[in-house]
Symmetry: C2
Subunit: 346 residues, 2 copies
């Protein structure tokens, strides 16, 4: 099995995507990895294994690597004597944030007929925008927290009692997110959030609420991770975030009742199937008074949440083997032929 | 001003996209048009003006045209002596149905930094799926008809009284759509719809309901078309559909009260701004008992609904001049530098 790790992108999470990709080098042991970097100005580079370290990117040395073009069927190295295809069984979309999670990479792979692990375009649109995530969750019978939506031009009035959490509608990794405990902090928190988006979601901030993460995918069977109770910190500073995206060790299961465990697994499956087929995602849930709420969908979790799975590498292998493609649409020009013959008769 | 008309695509509406594109040749009078055909197997061809006729495509003769590649900055013709860029002010996405309306073309243009007229990726996702259109409309305060959703695996039971209209969730141009008047027709109608999609919407079919179309866009100002009352037919056969996508004459305004006119315009603006900026769309509304309901969003209407506008060509010119691009994200590797220096200290 050979997999292309696609990482970088024009994204606020460009750098943590690099961290995720470097982590993958340790996680995959018997798979042949090909590393394809998307620079912040959206050019593709083939990065050799020895160069998969952060300095390659921060120094700009990646520019010395071979450039790739995306064409029908996959990535190619253009050369004097024609194009040479980069041969892989699938591309693993590891571009966090914009480009990767908003659906662009999925659209590119789909259009050019490249097998890929990633949420498809529609799944990306529904998870990238936290407002749409709420619509979608409701439509499949999964609860989310109550919320208000403010747009950049609307009046800055909220009716949810403090404390609240303020989130740009479209970003991940806690960028632009603030907790507001006093009304005096509201204006500034909104200014920060509107720096990143035209739409902002406001939700109640519940201090004691329990948080659980469930990752998984559907191969020829359901492959659900253990349930993790993440360490709760109000903000992740860079070292904590680095830790989060470079994890490759194992963690232990959260202590939850079998009822909550079953409820979380059930909610995960409702979210995942069928919209997220072809991807490995992590869903973050809140639990309060026995009720389960979806907090957010991580469509491309840091280091693919490998640390939550017993047998990550073989699962990815099974996922690649179960990838589906869009239905084939046969164009036979019957319609145009009919017009031509109708015109001929006239 | 020069515009590339992008048409074709891997779509059930491939052929009517060709009809739309041919119509554009007559509609644009002082604009330089470049015609880029996307074959049904998704290769790009530069079609010369003299070949812009349906036989070029139905005969397969388009394959003799120059092939194009999409690269950073635009389309290029690859040749012996390097790449030659196809120089245009903007691309007009005229791919109806899949590829064009589902967000793939938008993603490609956005990724490669090509100015383009089209709904952006998120707008495509919300209009391509009729269920999501309902969520979106509700979120901006526009009513839609009541509905039920059936998925391929769910029980085939409906509670909306007959007659109902059955629609695949994701297709346009009445493909797979049926009106069911007797319960005996239901099974077959659902079979047909599920041929095209895994999700099907069921809505009440209201025989006497009034239907009005409103097209428009936002340039440096609102540019709203006249309101049209389309000819109501239960099904469009190929000749009527051909008529619809090849229209270049003018039509007259529907006779509506100033209150309904203002209501339709208001609803259009709520749908359009900001999600559909950069595009020219047509919204189809129902009116009953003075209430306005969004029926559907046509994100890329047939022949761009040119026949509804007084001054189509100049409006497109203004639209091109007002196109926005994604915000630029500066990647400065500050985060990676911090990790490196933190590690250095350890």
């Amino acid at each position: 099995m050979s997999i292309a790790i696609l990482f970088g992108g024009s994204s606020f999470e460009h750098e943590i995507s690099i961290v995720s990709a470097i982590t993958m080098q340790k996680v995959f042991k018997s798979t042949t990895l090909v590393n394809i970097f998307v620079s912040s100005d959206r050019e593709f580079f083939l990065i050799e294994a020895k160069d998969m370290k952060s300095t390659t990117f921060s120094s700009g040395n990646y520019k010395k690597s071979k450039k790739l073009q995306l064409q029908k069927g996959g990535f190619v190295i253009s050369g004097m004597f024609g194009d040479k295809k980069v041969d892989v069984d699938a591309v693993l979309n590891l571009v966090h944030g914009r480009d990767g999670e908003d659906g662009k990479i999925a659209a590119l792979m789909e259009f050019y007929g490249v097998p890929y692990i990633s949420p498809r375009l529609e799944a990306c649109a529904m998870s990238y925008n936290k407002l749409y995530t709420k619509f979608f969750a409701a439509s499949v019978g999964v609860k989310t927290l109550p919320y208000e939506l403010l747009s950049k031009t609307s009046e800055r009035k909220i009716s949810i009692p403090l404390p609240v959490i303020i989130k740009p509608a479209r970003l991940g990794s806690s960028i632009g997110v603030s907790v507001v405990k006093n009304i005096s902090e509201l204006e500034y928190a909104l200014d920060v959030a509107f720096e990143f988006d035209t739409d902002v979601l406001i939700e109640p901030f519940m201090d004691g609420i329990k948080e659980y993460n469930q990752a998984g995918c559907l191969t020829d069977k359901w492959e659900l991770s253990i349930i993790e109770e993440p360490h709760k910190v109000e903000f992740l500073d860079f070292e904590k975030k680095y830790m989060d995206f470079s994890r490759d060790g194992k963690v232990s299961s959260a202590e939850v009742s079998s009822k909550i465990e079953a409820g979380i697994q059930e909610s995960f499956k409702k979210i995942y199937d069928p919209l997220f087929r072809g991807s490995l995602i992590r869903c973050d849930f809140f639990v309060q008074d026995g009720e389960i709420y979806l907090n957010e969908i991580n469509p491309i979790p840091g280091s693919m949440a490998n640390y939550l799975f017993e047998d990550f590498e073989n699962m990815i292998d099974r996922l690649v083997k179960s990838l589906h493609t869009e239905s084939n649409i046969k164009v036979d020009y019957q319609y145009i032929h009919s017009i031509q013959s109708a015109k001929g008769k006239a």
